[in-house]
């Protein structure tokens, strides 16, 4: 992978994510209630915590998808309070949903997303083979895939993005053991290429092995663990 994927040398010393006392409110429920944490370049950070703790909300906020109601939030040197859009070309997000078009085949989905982010055909082919989607499956409509195969396809669209910051919401869910191993390998090599990874997971054992640091989210607050 080229140097362009890494963090530019000049900013390597500043944090990739810098949240200070951030509050995020849905209607009138504060899903994130004063979160303070930071992520340094090259880390693989695990967000763990009970259901409804606010992990998904944090990840979506980091991707610039949610407005910040209070506090200071900086991601890749973009201030999310002023501009949530600038950050988006640099992050890749895998949410609970897959973001795929059910009526298109795997190959068509891949080519759509790869064209949008300007990935090369070679990258696409590689991502698909890493995720085990070559051959028969590539010509299958997404609606006709099994749940795990769909998740693999979503991961493949993420891989071709070669983002500087990877945000993954329960990336292991639905994958079989081999897929999980492959994913972990992919994340580690992305890190070696200079990317930073933040992911939420309930597969604590596997996740803790993968992560370089663990954060616990609970009641909308983040704490070191």
């Amino acid at each position: 992978m080229s140097a362009a994927n890494g963090v530019a040398p000049g900013v390597a010393h500043s944090n990739v994510i810098e949240f200070a006392d951030v509050v995020i409110v849905y209607e009138n429920f504060p899903a994130v209630a004063g979160a303070t944490f930071s992520v340094a370049p090259g880390e693989i950070v695990l967000l763990q915590g009970p259901n409804g703790a606010g992990k998904t909300t944090l990840l979506r906020a980091c991707a610039g998808l949610l407005p910040i109601n209070r506090g200071d939030a900086r991601v890749l040197n973009c201030d999310l309070r002023l501009d949530r859009y600038a950050v988006r070309t640099k992050v890749g997000l895998l949410g609970h949903a897959n973001g795929l078009f059910q009526d298109l085949t795997v190959a068509e989905n891949m080519s759509f997303w790869s064209r949008l982010v300007g990935a090369s055909a070679q990258d696409v082919a590689q991502a698909m083979s890493v995720m085990g989607l070559a051959d028969r499956l590539s010509e299958t409509r997404v609606a006709n895939l099994s749940a795990g195969q769909r998740r693999r396809c979503a991961l493949a669209t993420l891989i071709v993005r070669r983002a500087q910051l990877w945000l993954l919401d329960e990336p292991h869910a639905g994958l079989d053991t081999q897929g999980r191993d492959e994913l972990d390998r992919t994340l580690r090599s992305a890190r070696e290429a200079g990317a930073t990874v933040v992911f939420a997971s309930h597969e604590i054992d596997r996740a803790q092995k993968l992560a370089t640091r663990c954060l616990t989210v609970s009641g909308g607050v983040v704490s070191e663990s």
Partner: protein, 249 residues
């Protein structure tokens, strides 16, 4: 926080009180002049007096919607995205919808007297109704769930598009042959054929309604500010509860 609330809690200021008094004086003059001093119309008789409400309310509705659009642009293109602009936009649109409703009501009453029908499928009437619905839609957009910032952005876009309908309403009489009165006052050639006192009363009405508009908007945007402050106070309590959830588990 509660200190802030107390300091800002009255929605009136010295300026609004002055405006209020002037408004009452001007409106009193419009009522007296419109009902007593001005003559009947040759064709329309007494019913012409509806004009002193109907026409100003239509124009002030336009004015209100234009103010909404300008304030929206102020929010959207301003560097700081100051929420004050958004409040002005919202307040002005609410008052504008009220004036538009008055136009529709007085218009249909007038129509009953002159055409014998409350409503006709006439271009002016139809486009006016559409304008009214558009701004109901605008107010609905303001009520969508989401943060203040989201609300401001969404509604600003809608407001700046919706204001484009005003020329359509205004020129509808020209675009389609219409039953409705053509532009007697705001016509392009500039020569106004109307009794002098009638015209003066009409313009007094416009001035009076403008003052009403200004007074209402100032107060309304102030209450909006207070609601925002109150909401953020409720948020503090909610945050505390939410944090407690985490400690408990």
């Amino acid at each position: 926080m509660s200190l802030v609330l107390q300091k800002t809690s009255p929605t009136g200021t010295r300026a609004t009180r002055v405006i209020g008094v002037v408004t009452i004086l001007v409106m009193a003059w419009v009522v007296v002049s419109g009902l007593i001093f001005t003559p009947q119309d040759v064709v329309q008789g007494e019913s012409v007096r509806i004009m002193y409400v109907h026409v100003p309310s239509a124009w002030i509705a336009y004015l209100a919607f234009i103010v909404t659009a300008v304030a929206s642009a102020g929010w959207l293109f301003g560097k700081k995205h100051s929420m004050g602009f958004d409040r002005f936009a919202g307040a002005s649109a609410e008052v504008g919808v009220m004036f538009m409703a008055i136009t529709l009501i007085t218009g249909s009453l007038w129509g009953r007297l002159t055409w014998g029908e409350f409503w006709q499928w006439d271009p002016r009437l139809t486009t006016t109704a559409f304008l009214f619905v558009t701004y109901l839609g605008y107010l609905a957009v303001r009520r969508l769930e989401g943060s203040k910032e989201q609300r401001a952005r969404r509604s600003a876009v809608v407001a700046m598009l919706a204001v484009l309908e005003i020329p359509l309403v205004h020129f509808s009489v020209v675009l389609w042959r219409s039953l409705h009165q053509g532009a007697t006052v705001l016509n392009p050639s500039g020569d106004v054929k109307m009794d002098g006192l009638m015209l003066f009363t009409l313009f007094s009405g416009v001035v009076g309604f403008t003052l009403v508009f200004v007074w209402l908007v100032l107060h309304r945007q102030r209450t909006m500010l207070l609601v925002d402050i109150a909401n953020s106070q409720g948020l503090d309590a909610a945050i505390a509860t939410r944090r407690a959830e985490g400690v408990a588990s």
